[in-house]
Every structure is written in structure tokens, then in C-alpha cells.
Symmetry: C2
Subunit: 217 residues, 2 copies
DNA sequence: TAGATTGTTAATCGATTAACAATC
DNA sequence: TAGATTGTTAATCGATTAACAATC
């Protein structure tokens, strides 16, 4: 295992979930072996890139043959830590929080929605997708009780920092931030920002000048 | 203007919306002038990076002074094509489509939700956020009528390609794809993939090995 | 064995960082 | 003027692509 010796690029890590999801599809199609060539064709990624990405974690393929789908799937799942069965919480039951609470792909990847938080008294106590909505003030207690590691911020911008602070105090380790604002947290907390207006804005950029980039992501 | 002579990196373009949103915040705070130093501090981006990004589109700053917030805001808005008042459509009234239809930031950036599409007869004719839900079969007509340029795919994976095909035929120019599947479209159509499970999976990767990357995005 | 395909090293390409002259 | 800060060029760093030896 090279994970600890060599620094893996962020770009590589972001491609792993794509490989994973495609391999799952292949498994469902009863494909047992796949070459980097064919996997690349499916994803719009060069075979060299795929081999390089995978090789940075170990030797998962068989020369002259390809990759065993089932085996590679297990390996990538392990690399991504999907076996950890992370518990996560959603903060904010607006339209976006509601949608995320009902998003099926998370649980199929092994993530478990353990709690939802809001401040609106009419929402506290509700069950969304079978998960209870708690008051923000009870976060510390619930996070401990339910062993929650990841917090998803889906509150209005104005409250994002306040919620982030609460999450940190409660002992969360990772934050997925949908609020379009930079949040400040200690260095030990990992944050991923997901500002949805970035996607639409960059689309606008390309459409406005009629120059589609050569390669999609 | 250098836009046409020099190829701007995708990384730069993805940062423009971040600059834009921060400048808007500054304007609301009545800040008139900002230095790359201070803007960088707010965003967690180096000042050199910001100056480089902006300089690739023109000379927007004043040496020894900084950038005029109002002026820079207008310039970045123009670069991003936000003045084009793009009409967009959402396809799929599931939880995600519903949330996107109600997302306020799009309209505040000048994007106009002009139509929603689904196939469920109980949803056709409904108005969400004041916008009518049409049947998928009427797409070509409605897209033409309402001059829609952008389609947001929020349907289950299994139907993503079929919807993409319909969008292309209808004359759409850009697609924002939330379905976790690669869609195939002609080269002239610009596609942005937004697979929400990538965010959670990469969080999982870092949490599983306790090595937060030095820099957040 | 011959053909295929990986894993790895080297070459290229692109993006970020550093340095500094220009100038407000 | 002196101090500050941009815009730009050069240096560094990192990621992708190409090439090919290893080997199934």
C-alpha cells in the first residue's frame, strides 16, 4: 500500500467515485473483466489516466488481461473508506436539505443519515425519510449519541458559519458545505464546498462565448 | 480583451463565480475598494492567484490602490455572461428537481427558470415557484417558444441519456447533469456533470485516513 | 508462443507561486 | 515623494500524456 508514502492528487481522488459508480454498473451487467481502454471509453477519461490513478494505490490489474470488476470495486470501495459506514447529519430542512435527505445514492454507497437538524419548531420532531428532525440546540448530544462524523450544511448563507461552529464543537470531522459562503473551521476538519451557482455560472461563461472546452470533467 | 486570443484555464473560470459572490457581499457591506490581498483572505485563495485570474481578462485594478468593487463586479458579471439573462429548464420533478426549482440564488444571478418537465401525469400542469410543469413530449415546442438555452437534468440515471437526447433535439446549448451517469451529446453542446455522491465519497476518503489536504477548494 | 494489457518511467503540458517593474 | 498594490514575466510545481518494458 502506497497511500501513506505518496501524496495522491485531489484530481485522482475525485475520479475514484466515478470509477466506482461505473464498475457497479458493469457488475450489474455481469461484466467480470474490464480493460482501462473500455473503462476509459465509458467515462471519457484516457486509459493511461485510469491506470495511473489506480496504480498509485496498488497493483489491482492483471497484465494482458485487465481488471476484475468485482475485485477492483472492492479495492476502490476500501480506498474511499466506504466500508466505514459513516453516519452523517443534515442541517437545514429547506428545499435543498429535504432533497438531500431523500437522495438515494448516499445510502447505496454506505452512508447513513442519522439525524436532521433545524430551528423551526414546526419541523422539530418530524421524520423525513425515516429520520428524525432535532433542534439545533441538541446537536452536541445527538452527534455524540449517534456517532455522527459528517455534517451537511444546507442552511441559508447567513447561518452557515454559526452551524459550522456548532458542528465543530459537537465533534464532527468533515463538513459538506452547500452554503455559498466560505466557512472557517480548525485545520483538522475537512471541508468540501459545493456552491451550486458555480455550475450554472461556468455554463453561462462557455455559452456566452460559444467555445465549448475540448474536454468535459 | 484577451478572451479570444488566450485560452483561459477551467480552474480560473470556476473561481470567477467565487469572486463574483464575494464582491457582491462586499458591495452590500458598502466596501468600495478591495485589494487582492484582502479578497484572497476572504476566499482562502492567494492574492497572486486572484491577480493572475483577473489579469487574463483585462486590467481591472488600479496599481497602488486595488480594485473598485462595483466596477470589478460588473466586469466579472460580463465575463461570466450573466447579463445574457439565460432561460433554463429543469427536467424531473423529484426531490432534487423540486429543490433546484426553488433555489433562490439562480435568479439572483440573472438565470430565469422558464419551464419544468416531467412525465408524471399528476405533476403536469402544476406550478412550482410560479413555473409550469410540462410533459416531456412537449419539450421541443416549449424550448423554442420560451427561448430556453440551458437544461438541468434531475431525472433518475436510467432516463438521463434519453432526456439529454431530447434536450439536444430541442435546440438546447448547455446541460447541467445531476444524474450520476455520463451522457453523450454532440461536441457543440456544453455539459457540466454534478454528481453529488462524489462530494461525500471524497470526504469519506480523507476521513478514513485522517489526512486533511493542506488546502481547501 | 503471440497478442493483449498492465504498471512505471520519462516527456510534456498546464497551473500556481514567486519576484519585481510599473505606476497610482 | 514614499508606500502600496497591480500586472506580468520567470521559476516552480503538479498533473497528464506518451512510451515501453514486464508479464499474463
Amino acid at each position: 500500500m502506497k497511500e501513506d508514502s505518496i501524496i495522491i492528487s485531489k484530481a485522482t481522488i475525485d475520479r475514484l467515485p466515478l470509477y466506482f459508480r461505473t464498475l457497479r454498473l458493469l457488475q450489474r451487467e455481469d461484466v467480470e473483466i474490464i480493460s482501462s481502454e473500455e473503462l476509459g471509453r465509458r467515462l471519457g477519461i484516457t486509459p493511461e489516466q485510469i491506470r495511473k490513478d489506480l496504480a498509485s494505490f496498488g497493483q489491482f490489474g492483471k497484465k494482458g488481461v485487465g481488471y476484475y470488476v468485482k475485485e477492483l470495486l472492492r479495492n476502490i470501495g476500501d480506498i474511499l473508506g466506504l466500508h466505514c459506514n459513516w453516519n452523517f447529519a443534515i442541517i437545514g430542512v429547506g428545499h435543498l436539505g429535504w432533497a438531500l435527505a431523500n437522495y438515494r445514492h448516499f445510502s447505496s454507497l454506505g452512508f447513513n443519515l442519522a439525524a436532521i437538524f433545524d430551528v423551526d419548531p414546526t419541523k422539530i420532531g418530524l421524520h423525513i425519510n425515516g429520520v428524525q428532525v432535532f433542534h439545533l440546540d441538541d446537536m452536541e448530544k445527538i452527534v455524540q449519541e449517534k456517532n455522527i462524523h459528517i455534517g451537511i450544511i444546507a442552511v441559508p448563507e447567513a447561518h452557515a458559519q454559526e452551524v459550522a461552529d456548532k458542528l465543530v464543537v459537537s465533534g464532527i470531522r468533515g463538513i459538506w458545505n452547500f452554503a455559498p459562503r466560505k466557512i472557517r473551521v480548525p485545520g483538522s476538519i475537512y471541508v468540501i464546498d459545493e456552491d451550486l451557482s458555480v455550475g450554472l455560472s461556468s455554463l453561462s461563461y462557455y455559452l456566452a462565448r460559444k467555445t465549448p472546452p475540448k474536454q468535459q470533467i
